[in-house]
């Protein structure tokens, strides 16, 4: 019995350590175009990598130009192979200029987070 209890305790302690870490709530890990970066060429879609799975039905991503005009875009969708990746296809290719991305993400644990970042197209 004591041996069983020790094994049980060891399993309980080890379980969170042997697996890859996940985070409660979805925060932005990185994006393409990159956060604060300058990219060349037209940009036709945004890809956002989050620290946790995102439920796109109640999530939103908007893109605005430096003049404040909203860039038409598709509703956010998950990458079919990874729920932590959100894809937004833009209504038109982005020309040179600085753009602001504002996002709101509902994570799979029912909590919401928001964030914003810029990128520049040359």
């Amino acid at each position: 019995m004591q041996r069983f209890l020790k094994l049980l305790l060891a399993a309980g302690l080890a379980a969170p350590l042997v697996a890859s870490p996940v985070f409660a709530h979805a925060f932005l890990d990185h994006a393409v175009p990159g956060v604060g970066l300058t990219v060349s060429g037209p940009v036709r879609e945004l890809r956002l990598w989050y620290t946790q799975g995102v439920v796109t039905a109640f999530s939103a991503v908007s893109v605005a130009s430096s003049t404040g005009g909203t860039i038409p875009a598709s509703r956010p969708v998950n990458d079919p192979s990874d729920q932590q990746i959100v894809i937004v296809r833009l209504g038109r290719a982005l020309g040179p200029g600085t753009y602001t991305v504002t996002w709101r993400a509902l994570s799979v644990d029912t909590h919401t987070t928001t964030g914003t970042f810029h990128f520049t197209v040359t």
């Binding site: 209890l5 049980l8 305790l9 399993a11 309980g12 302690l13 379980a15 969170p16 350590l17 697996a19 890859s20 870490p21 996940v22 985070f23 409660a24 709530h25 979805a26 925060f27 932005l28 890990d29 956060v35 604060g36 946790q52 799975g53 439920v55 039905a57 109640f58 939103a60 908007s62 605005a64 404040g68 909203t70 509703r75 956010p76 729920q83 602001t100 504002t102 709101r104 993400a105 509902l106 994570s107 799979v108 644990d109 029912t110 909590h111 919401t112 987070t113 928001t114 964030g115 914003t116 970042f117 810029h118």
Partner: protein, 344 residues
């Protein structure tokens, strides 16, 4: 594009954003969460407690000695009747509080109180989110539990049905909170299994306390020697179950906390999540101390007691009452913990 997404975009574009941010708790959702905090906590607390009763109080009659079991109620007829009434109350309470919890989760998701009557938001919630499927299953379970509760007969099958309904309701909570963040792989399965084991063990222990207390009270009216023998008998059975349950609660509790902090337990200190978790641990520690005294101090005294003058039975009753009150408190803290963001 849905109306919800359009409104969020319009609001976002109107904001003057100056700095890059990798994310923060949603302010709008935070305000909604603040306004719905007490209702949400209350709904979760009442729901957890009522489902614990559905599961644990039904389960109680399956590990009792044969003389007091469902097939042979023996002398604990009043306790059996009280348990039946308690289950008949717990089922509709679990259903109402469960629906309220679901509605408040939707309000927090959309930051909009009207979303609970908005057909588009309801369609998105039930059919385009991972919470939808489990919510539909839970609604069906609530309806089944309420129908079952008001059936005229209440035999062994009735108790077994409520026990299983309670168990599935407890397990399904995993998909409405932090335990669902592991994804669909092996890691996710382990997280759900650990959570399910934790709540089932907690439900068996805390949910078994009301019929145990009722049984102790009922036996005080028996002849002294009969009361002593029956109390020792019932308490031995409950203790055996509780010791296994407590072991599982502690082990899965450590694992659950580890999952929330990705194995870095030190981040629990000086955080809101850590404070709530330590409060829960402290209350459980007091409950364990009481359980230890019941099992290893009062019960041996009762075994060797003379026919007259058995204050141990009185002390046992008080101790179990206090344990039950602490059980309600720890369920409250668990309700708070579930909506507190774990440290990153």
């Amino acid at each position: 594009m849905t109306m919800f997404q359009y409104l969020v975009l319009v609001q976002d574009v109107a904001q003057d954003v100056a700095q890059d941010s990798m994310g923060q708790m949603d302010q709008a959702s935070g305000q909604a969460l603040w306004m719905t905090w007490w209702p949400l906590i209350s709904a979760r607390w009442i729901h957890f407690a009522s489902v614990f009763v559905l599961f644990g109080s039904s389960f109680f009659w399956f590990y009792m000695p044969r003389d007091h079991s469902l097939t042979h109620p023996g002398q604990l007829t009043k306790t059996l009747a009280a348990t039946t009434i308690m289950l008949r109350v717990a089922a509709p309470v679990a259903a109402i509080s469960g629906v309220a919890w679901m509605a408040l989760v939707l309000i927090n998701m959309t930051s909009n109180f009207h979303s609970v009557v908005n057909p588009e938001d309801l369609r998105l919630f039930f059919f385009e989110t991972p919470f939808g499927t489990v919510s539909i299953i839970r609604l069906a379970l609530f309806a089944t539990a309420v129908v079952l509760a008001f059936l005229p007969w209440h035999g062994r099958v009735w108790y077994s049905a409520l026990l299983h309904l309670g168990a599935v309701l407890l397990i399904s909570q995993a998909w409405l909170g932090h335990a669902s963040e592991g994804g669909a792989g092996l890691y996710g399965v382990i997280m759900i299994t650990v959570y399910a084991t934790h709540v089932l063990a907690a439900g068996a222990w805390a949910g078994g306390l009301p019929p145990l207390l009722s049984g102790l009270v009922e036996q005080r009216h028996f002849a002294p020697n009969e009361a002593r023998i029956c109390t020792v008998d019932i308490l031995s059975r409950f203790s055996a179950m509780a010791m296994l349950a407590v072991t599982l609660i502690v082990v899965t509790g450590i694992a659950n906390a580890g999952f929330r902090v990705a194995g870095s337990f030190e981040v629990l200190f000086d955080t809101e999540y850590g404070n709530v978790l330590f409060a829960k641990i402290a209350i459980v520690a007091v409950m364990l101390t009481l359980a230890y005294f019941n099992r290893f101090v009062f019960m041996p005294r009762l075994r060797s007691a003379a026919l007259k003058g058995m204050p141990a039975i009185t002390w046992l009753g008080r101790s179990v009452t206090f344990e039950l009150a602490l059980g309600l408190l720890v369920v409250f803290v668990a309700a708070v913990l579930g909506i507190t963001p774990p440290p990153q």
